[in-house]
Subunit: 190 residues, 2 copies
């Protein structure tokens, strides 16, 4: 049974542990063995030391996993959680299959225009530019091109709602679509 590393910002949510356990149950329903970062009791007590401990633990969990599903829903801003993105890059370099999803239907440039620069982006010489002259990526992708590109180049998918409002953090439908895509991916290669 393939082992899936569940990456995402859930660890920061108020109901994070419940949500992670729920996602693990769903992953098992799709035939996978889930692993995810955990809050354990035997962490070192120091702030810095516990950070290093969790980082090392997560890298070890990733190496033990066959593939990753990354929750790329924007977190505290217009892009995915950076911890999740680190893990996605890590698994790409290991050559493991990678899948991602976002509960937000919008492309990166739409979020930048509406949620960060608030309507002030304009096309200049074929590129989108903000008032400060900064360029805004416009590759019809969910997030930075390294994220979408890394996933798609490896035969994975970045799954999002077709349109409409951003789904709630505890809506697992995009996650389930990712699991279905992963199941198909492995079935085709079995």
């Amino acid at each position: 049974m393939s082992k899936v590393y569940l990456a995402g910002p859930e660890v920061f949510f108020a109901n994070g542990n419940e949500l992670i356990e729920q996602k693990k149950d769903i992953a098992r329903h799709y035939g996978f063995t889930p692993v995810a970062s955990v809050e354990e009791d035997d962490f070192p007590s120091g702030k810095f030391e516990s950070g290093m401990f969790i980082s090392t633990l997560n890298e070890r969990l990733m190496k033990s996993a066959d593939f990753i599903i990354a929750n790329l829903t924007p977190f505290r801003g217009i892009s995915a959680d950076v911890g999740t993105v680190f893990e996605l890059g890590f698994m790409c370099a290991l050559g493991r299959p990678v899948f991602g999803y976002s509960n937000d239907p919008r492309d990166y440039d739409e979020r930048a225009a509406n949620d960060y620069y608030v309507g002030a982006i304009k096309p200049v010489d074929g590129l989108l530019r903000a008032p400060d002259g900064q360029m805004v990526e416009d590759h019809e992708m969910a997030d930075n091109l390294m994220i979408d590109g890394g996933i798609i180049a490896r035969g994975g998918q970045v799954i999002r709602p077709n349109a409409g409002a951003r789904l709630a953090n505890d809506d697992t439908s995009m996650f389930e679509s990712c699991l279905a895509a992963a199941r198909d991916y492995f079935a085709m290669r079995a």
Copy 2:
């Protein structure tokens, strides 16, 4: 001569090309051969196709490099540029030495408290929590623990100003300190 991959959000800056060329010159001064993502003329014309092209190009450049220096200065929010973070995770998994710097002196929790939640974070049962119940990382690190942890576990450093205001985007002093640290790293292992 060791080849260094220069990762950072400079590609989005109005003066990005000049800044990248300047950083390449400085890297050469420290004895390294720099490589960085480039804007080329022969990109595919389609938005999505050019995104995939650059992603593939950058992954190839990273594989050709001996180590990475990542500009982790917060970009359009309270965390590092996600493209840069993907690349950092990628190089960590490849087992290459990794170095990072930020022009912002603050820990992640300070930025979350002041720039995102605007003073509304409080300690609850030993963890920092926002009004929505979300936990805010407090590991005395520059950003998410996967970033700092991945760098430090490999003998690299996350270099920041000691205190004071965030340095301007075109201030290269932290970048130079990173190059000096990398030079020492390779000298010790020569």
